[in-house]
Point group: C2
Chain length 454, copies 2
């Protein structure tokens, strides 16, 4: 192995291959902090597509597993190293080119989402997808997981903005798919197939992203409810009439955690909170009125509206900051289950039951307009029994979502943490088809083995 | 073969299998009217998914090709029969169920697009995708080609509204993919892979479609230009500021054909026309002003705005009716090429050159906001030389689009008419990957052989 690694190091730019064990340690896990992550033999940090091709050709020749890695902010263990693998980090691939005429950005995978947004904003353009990890997650990782966020309810997910890509296959072939074309149905939808494929089909080395005109500042509505069902009814009523730019949910525990953390003056006795925004030019006032009246009709105990962007941003920050707020309380297991919107009350109630039965603390925030929820399980990792109960709750929540016609992951990905529940959701026939496609593209199974598929 | 067909007939509902040659004749071609279409041995009209499974199991056993067919309104020969095949028409599969709570429609493939829209409208909901064939094309065919339309520039294409499907694979296995979930990243993006796959990977037997709240009536702007470049500049300027609900282009020949056909009072000397709409609630007046001022800034010779829906509908009808208007003038070869928007003037000029060189009449209409154009070649099919020149022009336009970084098909599909140009656009490596996926899903090659791939 040593000789083979030396050969690879010779083929790559100076310093691109790292075998120092202290540095390697930092590349073993993503933000799920999975204790079962393996140890790679090396980390490579390619400077461009040609380097990625070299790595994969080498890996194919030596039958070495390659674990692609963006910023390591993933929450499902999708970038956890495998023993004996090479971790391929895209962190050095940071070029970006904005074309205002086609309203596209051509970006390498290593930039953060915020960096892409900022470059687009310099041309009065906007890249909408906004996972909460916006400042730390890489655009390549966003594409590999089809990341969502808060604005999806109106503006869609990462995949809706990817017009084309360059991707390197398991044998080192680099393909160009799509481009700055808004409509293109020539051949199979291969670009779409690589989106959300979590590194098991290829390594994305460039993305062509669709940009749209920047939106005006949003108006914000906050509503409190004394029942989750009332809040869920308000979600259904509002989305039947308008498309809000944000429609977030926080449960009783989350409201209190946010209040502990940020002192917003929220009613600590409330059972549910909705945080909504409208950015419709010329229609924000009308949309705010629609949100307010539907919340009131559905029994909100308190409704507050503002078109001060700073005030709105404070509420949004409280919502985005939830993981940080509860992180202080213990280790986290972050859920990402989704259900059809009418099942939201059943999911929230079911999660409360699981918290009781498993004797764990669960905080629930949700992209309610999409039915995508994040029950956050907080536990003490030094207590083996508490860890076990947390893991049991993690499993039960997925089973609950599947039973409600939902999904085990709305935007974080399957990775390694949720892999064993995927067959329960998809069924044997869909798993078999998935395996057929994986085998067709990566017959040696060297690309991110153990992620998504066993 | 006769005995085998009898066995299949026995397995299907009465009358589902047709061998009458007069009836079969009507199922040989789609609307491309390809003279090279083959003759099937039978037409089957399944009543549901179980019947489709029977047909495919039977076909796999007897190595018989199956050509899936929606309404036969395709324009690329994607539903052209193959000699000895069975044509599988979905026309009898017409169930629809609207769920206002999840804002979804669960539909069988045989309904027309308009029928889906109408059912959604009964609940105050809207299914946006609107190919010009809206009244005659099937929703299953729309999904199989990832059909576009006029509203795509703001609202996206068919695939953006497909949340889930039931699909029958080549071996008769029926799979359920996705469902009424707005965000779901569990496993590979298989739903997306079947969208636009033109019947070569499976037969779609049910779709779960995302619906959105109905939009208010649109305001309309019509602008005339004495140069194509000026019109294209206006497109770039407008789309940098707002997202119009429609942004259509007609060239000099099309303006005159529309005027012959409908007497709108258009200036026959104009070289280009833009037809634009805004449906933004509360912001239509502002968007109309943006469109008008940008057209004027870019040198429009005449600009007309109206918020009378009837007047707007008359212009839209003139645009939608273009195929009908020129159909009287001869046989048509319909192009569907797309380019990055800044290449629009080069494409229009290039097409004019091709019309001159090949001595054919070409009318150009375009979904300009998407860069997706429809040069319509009109020729006399009884004149072999004219037919030959038309076919040469058809090929040259695709080569022109590829040379401009564009696509041979923006929304109609590759089918059989454009198949031989697909490798020129995609390249050998992408074709090889396409073939690997096709072979993984349909190892016998019985699903729509000759479409997309040779």
């Amino acid at each position: 192995m040593h000789a083979a690694l030396n050969r690879l190091a010779d083929e790559l730019p100076d310093g691109a291959l790292i075998t120092d064990s202290d540095i390697i340690e930092r590349y073993r896990r993503d933000s799920a902090a999975d204790p079962h992550a393996g140890t790679p033999v090396a980390v490579v940090r390619p400077a461009g597509t040609a380097d990625v091709q070299q790595v994969l050709r080498w890996a194919a020749e030596h039958h070495v597993a390659v674990v692609p890695r963006g910023a390591g902010s993933g929450l499902s263990g999708g970038a956890d190293a495998v023993d004996g693998s090479v971790v391929l980090s895209t962190e050095r691939m940071r070029d970006i080119r904005i074309d205002p005429a086609t309203r596209t950005a051509v970006v390498q995978p290593g930039l953060t989402n915020t960096e892409v947004k900022r470059a687009a904003a310099q041309h009065g353009l906007w890249y909408p997808p906004d996972p909460s990890s916006i400042d730390i997650s890489s655009i390549g990782g966003n594409a590999a997981t089809n990341a969502g966020g808060l604005c999806c309810v109106k503006y869609g997910v990462t995949g809706d903005y990817v017009l084309g890509m360059e991707v390197v296959l398991a044998d080192g072939t680099a393909l160009r798919l799509g481009g700055p074309l808004l409509k293109d149905v020539a051949g199979l939808a291969l670009t779409k197939l690589f989106i959300g494929s979590e590194g098991i089909l290829g390594v994305i080395t460039e993305l062509t992203l669709r940009l749209i005109p920047a939106q005006p500042p949003a108006s914000t509505v906050v509503a409190l409810f004394d029942s989750v069902a009332d809040a869920a009814n308000a979600v259904v009523a509002i989305t039947a009439e308008i498309r809000p730019a944000m429609l977030e949910f926080m449960d009783h525990a989350s409201i209190n955690a946010a209040e502990d953390h940020m002192r917003m003056g929220l009613d600590r006795s409330a059972r549910a909170m909705l945080l909504m925004q409208s950015d419709a030019p010329g229609a924000a006032a009308a949309e705010v009125a629609t949100m307010v009246s539907n919340c009131e009709k559905c029994g909100a105990t308190e409704v507050f509206a503002t078109d001060d962007p700073a005030e709105g941003a404070a509420f949004t920050a409280a919502r985005r900051g939830m993981f940080g707020a509860v992180e202080k309380l213990g280790s986290l297991l972050l859920e990402d289950v989704g259900v059809p919107i009418p099942q939201l009350p059943a999911l929230v109630t079911g999660v409360e039951d699981i918290a009781d039965t498993c004797d764990v603390q669960i905080y629930m925030v949700a992209h309610a307009g999409d039915g995508n929820t994040h029950p956050i399980i907080v536990y003490d990792p030094t207590d083996p029994d508490a860890t076990d109960r947390a893991e049991r709750a993690f499993a039960r929540i997925m089973e609950l979502a599947i039973g409600l016609g939902g999904t085990i992951t709305g935007e974080h990905g399957v990775g390694r943490l949720k892999r064993d529940w995927l067959p329960n959701q998809l069924g044997d026939d869909v798993m078999a088809l998935t395996r057929r496609i994986k085998d067709a593209l990566d017959p040696q199974g060297i690309l991110n083995p153990g992620a998504v598929l066993r």
